[in-house]
C-alpha cells in the first residue's frame, strides 16, 4: 500500500516526460554540437578531407596556435569594442525613442511604426541602404561637404581603419534599436502613472522625475535589454561580412567572422572548433556574470 501511495505523489516521472522534448532539442542543437566542437578542437580535421593528411589527435596545439595569433586577439578586441559601444548606445537610443513614443505626442503611432521599421528589415537590406550612404560620393560625405562649404571632402568611411568600426556600430544601432524600444515601451507602461504625479507634487523637474521614477522603474527592463543586447552584439557577423569583410587591416574582424573564415575559407575545421570553444566559454562567462551581478528586482511594490 505505501508504495502505491508514494507513486501517486511522485511527480518526477511526469516532469521528466514533459521536459523530454525541450531537453532533446537542447541536446541535439546545443550540447551535442558543443561536444562535437570540443572533440574536433583537439584534431587537425579539415573541411575537405585530405587523403595524404588523415585526421589525427593533436592535443592542445590548435589552442596554442590561436593564443599566439595576433588576428585572434584583434578579433576579440574588435568584438568587445563593438559590444561596449553598441550596448549603451542602442539601449539609450531605444529608451529615448520609447519615451517619445510613450508620451502624449499626437503622432506617436507614426513614430512607433517608423522606429520599428528597421527591425523588420533584414540586415542585408539595411546594409545595401547604408553602404550607399557611406559611399565616397554618398549621403554622409555630401552632408559634410555641404556644412563645410566644400572645404572638407568627407571620408572613405568603410576603408578608414579608424572609422570602419564606428560605421558598423552606427548601422547596427540603427537596425537594432527598434526591438529594444518595444521592450522599453512595455517597461514604461508598467510604471505606475501615479508615481509621476507624486513626483510632480513633490516638485520634481523632468530630469529629476526621470531619475527618481523612470530609471528605477525600468530596472528589470534594463537588465533584460543589456543581457540580450550583449549576446546579440557578441555574435556580430553579417554587417561586417557585407560591409567591410573584416577590413581594413582587420580593424572590423570579429570572432564569429574569424571562425567562419578559418573553418570555411581556409578549411581548418579543427582550429575553428577550438576558436568556437574559447568563444563559447567567454560568452557563457559574461552571461553568467551578468546574471549574478544584475539581480532582478522580483518584488515590485
Amino acid at each position: 500500500m505505501p508504495k502505491k501511495r508514494s507513486s501517486l505523489h511522485d511527480q518526477s516521472r511526469p516532469a521528466l516526460v514533459l521536459m523530454a522534448p525541450a531537453g532533446l532539442l537542447i541536446f541535439v542543437f546545443i550540447i551535442a554540437p558543443f561536444l562535437l566542437s570540443l572533440g574536433l578542437s583537439f584534431t587537425n580535421q579539415r573541411l575537405v578531407p585530405n587523403p595524404n593528411l588523415p585526421t589525427s589527435f593533436q592535443g592542445f596545439s590548435n589552442y596554442l596556435r590561436l593564443f599566439g595569433n595576433a588576428e585572434f586577439w584583434q578579433s576579440f578586441r574588435n568584438t568587445f569594442t563593438f559590444a561596449l559601444l553598441v550596448v549603451p548606445l542602442q539601449s539609450a537610443l531605444a529608451l529615448g525613442a520609447a519615451m517619445l513614443v510613450n508620451s502624449r505626442l499626437p503622432a506617436r503611432n507614426v513614430f512607433r511604426g517608423i522606429f520599428f521599421l528597421p527591425t523588420v528589415l533584414t540586415m542585408v537590406v539595411v546594409v545595401v541602404i547604408w553602404s550607399n550612404l557611406f559611399q565616397i560620393n554618398g549621403f554622409f560625405n555630401a552632408v559634410i561637404q555641404a556644412v563645410t562649404f566644400g572645404a572638407h571632402p568627407g571620408f572613405d568611411w568603410l576603408a578608414n581603419p579608424a572609422l570602419a568600426m564606428p560605421s558598423i556600430v552606427l548601422v547596427s544601432v540603427w537596425q537594432g534599436f527598434g526591438f529594444q524600444m518595444v521592450i522599453y515601451l512595455a517597461g514604461l507602461q508598467g510604471i505606475n502613472p501615479e508615481l509621476y504625479e507624486a513626483a510632480r507634487v513633490d516638485g520634481a523637474s523632468r530630469w529629476q522625475e526621470f531619475w527618481a521614477v523612470t530609471m528605477p522603474g525600468l530596472r528589470n527592463t534594463h537588465i533584460f535589454v543589456v543581457v540580450t543586447t550583449t549576446i546579440l552584439a557578441l555574435k556580430l557577423f553579417a554587417q561586417v561580412d557585407l560591409l567591410t569583410k573584416g577590413g581594413p587591416l582587420g580593424s572590423t574582424q570579429t570572432v564569429v567572422r574569424l571562425i567562419y573564415e578559418t573553418g570555411f575559407r581556409k578549411g581548418q575545421v579543427g582550429v575553428a572548433a577550438a576558436l568556437s570553444v574559447v568563444f563559447f566559454l567567454v560568452v557563457l562567462a559574461i552571461s553568467v556574470g551578468q546574471r549574478v551581478f544584475l539581480k532582478e528586482d522580483r518584488e515590485v511594490a
Binding site: 501615479e194 507634487v201 513633490d202 516638485g203 527618481a212 521614477v213 528605477p216 511594490a301
Partner: protein, 377 residues
C-alpha cells in the same frame, strides 16, 4: 492652512465634458468629502485642484490666490494617492524627504520634519525600510507622512483607504479623523464609501455626472436630501422611492395616496409645486419603517429576509412590482412568503416632485442642523 474656492470650474477631454460647472467654497480647516458613483468626476476634480489636470475654464483659488496656472508644488497642496505612489527604490525616510531634498532645504531641517511626521504617525521604526518591506497599512502611513512633511495648506486624498482590508480601514479612518483634529488642516477626501464620508466629513459633497447634487453636513444630507439622487445615495440600505399622488396640500403639509398604501398619509412639508392631483415620489428610509401588528400602511408578502442580529432587513412586495425594503426589529418572527404589515410616520418621510426635487421638510430633527464643533486650531 487655507480656504479654497471653486468657481464654475469645468473640464473637458476633447468634446466630452467631465466636470460641468462646479461651484464650491471650502473654509479653512474644513474636512470635505467628495462622494458619488464611479465615473462622476470626483478624482478629476481633485486632480484639477492638485494641478495634475488642466482646468478647462473657471477659477480655482487656494488661500485667496488664483492658482489655475500654478504647478502642483506651488499650490501648497499635498496629495495621498490611491496606490500610495511610494518610490519603490527609496527608503521610507527618502520617500518622505524627496520633495524637500528637491527644494534644497537644509539637511537638518529635512531630518527634523521627517522625524516629526514619523512620530505623528508612529512609524519611526520604519524609516530605513523600503516600501516592499511594508504592509498595506504602513505604506498608507508613509504616503500620509510624505504629505505631512510638505506642510501643505490643503491635503488631498483620493480613495486612500480603498486598498486596505475592512478592519484596517476602520483603524485608519479613526486615525485620519485624529490627524485632522491635530493638524487642523483643510482636507479634501474622495471616496465612494458612505461610512467614510459620514464619519469623517464636516461637509459631504455629492456628485453626479460632473455636477454637485448637494453639499452639506452628513446629517443634513441624511435628513434633508435635496433630490431623489442624494436621497438614494446617502443611507444604507437605500431609501425606498415610491410613486404617490398628491390628494391635498396645505401651507404646512401635503397628503398623498397610492394603491400600495392602505391609507392616506399626511407629510409635514412645504407644498412647493405639489398641487393636488400631481404625481410625486415618496421617500421612506428602511430604518424608519417598523413591523406592525395586524394592519400597516403597507401590507404585503415578504420576498427576502436578511437577519443581521439586532435588526432584520426584509423586502415586502407592495402592490404591483414595487418592492419595499424595511429594517425591522431583529426579534420579529418572519419568513419568506408570509404576510407582513409595515408602518411608518409621515414625520419621517420625504416627498419629491415629478422632477425629483425635495419639498422642504418642516419637522427635522435638531441634529440635522448641528455642525460639528471644531477644536480651536
Amino acid at each position: 492652512m487655507a480656504s479654497l474656492s471653486i468657481e464654475s470650474l469645468r473640464k473637458s477631454y476633447g468634446s466630452v465634458e467631465i466636470i460641468k460647472g462646479v461651484d464650491l467654497t471650502i473654509t479653512d480647516g474644513e474636512f470635505v468629502v467628495f462622494v458619488g458613483p464611479s465615473g462622476c468626476g470626483k478624482s478629476t476634480l481633485l486632480r484639477m485642484i492638485a494641478g495634475l489636470e488642466e482646468i478647462t475654464s473657471g477659477e480655482l483659488k487656494i488661500g485667496g490666490t488664483v492658482v489655475n496656472d500654478l504647478a502642483p508644488k506651488e499650490r501648497g497642496i499635498a496629495m495621498v494617492f490611491q496606490s500610495y505612489a511610494l518610490y519603490p527604490h527609496k527608503t521610507v525616510y527618502d520617500n518622505m524627504a524627496f520633495g524637500l531634498q528637491i527644494a534644497k532645504v537644509d539637511k537638518a531641517e529635512i531630518d527634523a520634519k521627517v522625524r516629526d511626521a514619523a512620530r505623528i504617525l508612529k512609524m519611526e521604526h520604519l524609516l530605513d525600510r523600503r516600501p516592499n518591506q511594508l504592509s498595506g497599512g504602513q505604506r498608507q502611513r508613509v504616503a500620509i507622512g510624505r504629505a505631512i512633511v510638505r506642510n501643505p495648506q490643503v491635503f488631498l486624498f483620493d480613495e486612500p483607504l480603498s486598498n486596505l482590508d475592512a478592519a484596517l480601514r476602520v483603524t485608519m479612518r479613526a486615525e485620519l479623523a485624529k490627524l485632522h483634529r491635530d493638524l487642523g488642516a483643510t482636507m479634501i477626501y474622495v471616496t465612494h464609501d458612505q461610512v467614510e464620508a459620514m464619519t469623517l466629513a464636516d461637509t459631504i459633497v455629492v456628485f453626479e455626472g460632473g455636477v454637485i447634487r448637494q453639499a452639506g453636513s452628513p446629517l443634513e444630507l441624511y435628513h434633508q436630501p435635496r433630490n431623489t439622487f442624494v436621497a438614494g445615495f446617502i443611507g444604507s440600505p437605500k431609501m425606498n422611492l415610491l410613486p404617490v399622488t398628491v390628494v391635498a396640500a396645505t401651507a404646512d403639509s401635503v397628503t398623498v395616496a397610492a394603491p400600495w398604501m392602505t391609507a392616506h398619509l399626511t407629510v409635514p412639508v412645504e407644498p412647493g409645486r405639489l398641487a393636488p392631483g400631481s404625481a410625486a415620489t415618496l421617500g421612506i428610509r428602511p430604518e424608519h419603517m417598523a413591523a406592525g401588528s395586524e394592519t400597516g400602511l403597507i401590507t404585503g408578502q415578504v420576498t427576502l429576509v436578511e437577519r443581521l442580529g439586532h435588526q432584520t432587513i426584509v423586502e415586502v412586495a407592495a402592490g404591483e412590482g414595487a418592492g419595499v425594503t424595511a429594517l425591522i426589529d431583529g426579534t420579529r418572527m418572519t419568513a419568506v412568503g408570509s404576510t407582513l404589515p409595515l408602518t411608518f410616520s409621515g414625520d419621517d418621510v420625504h416627498l419629491f416632485d415629478a422632477d425629483g426635487v425635495a419639498a422642504v421638510r418642516l419637522k427635522v430633527p435638531e441634529i440635522a442642523r448641528a455642525r460639528r464643533e471644531r477644536p480651536a486650531a
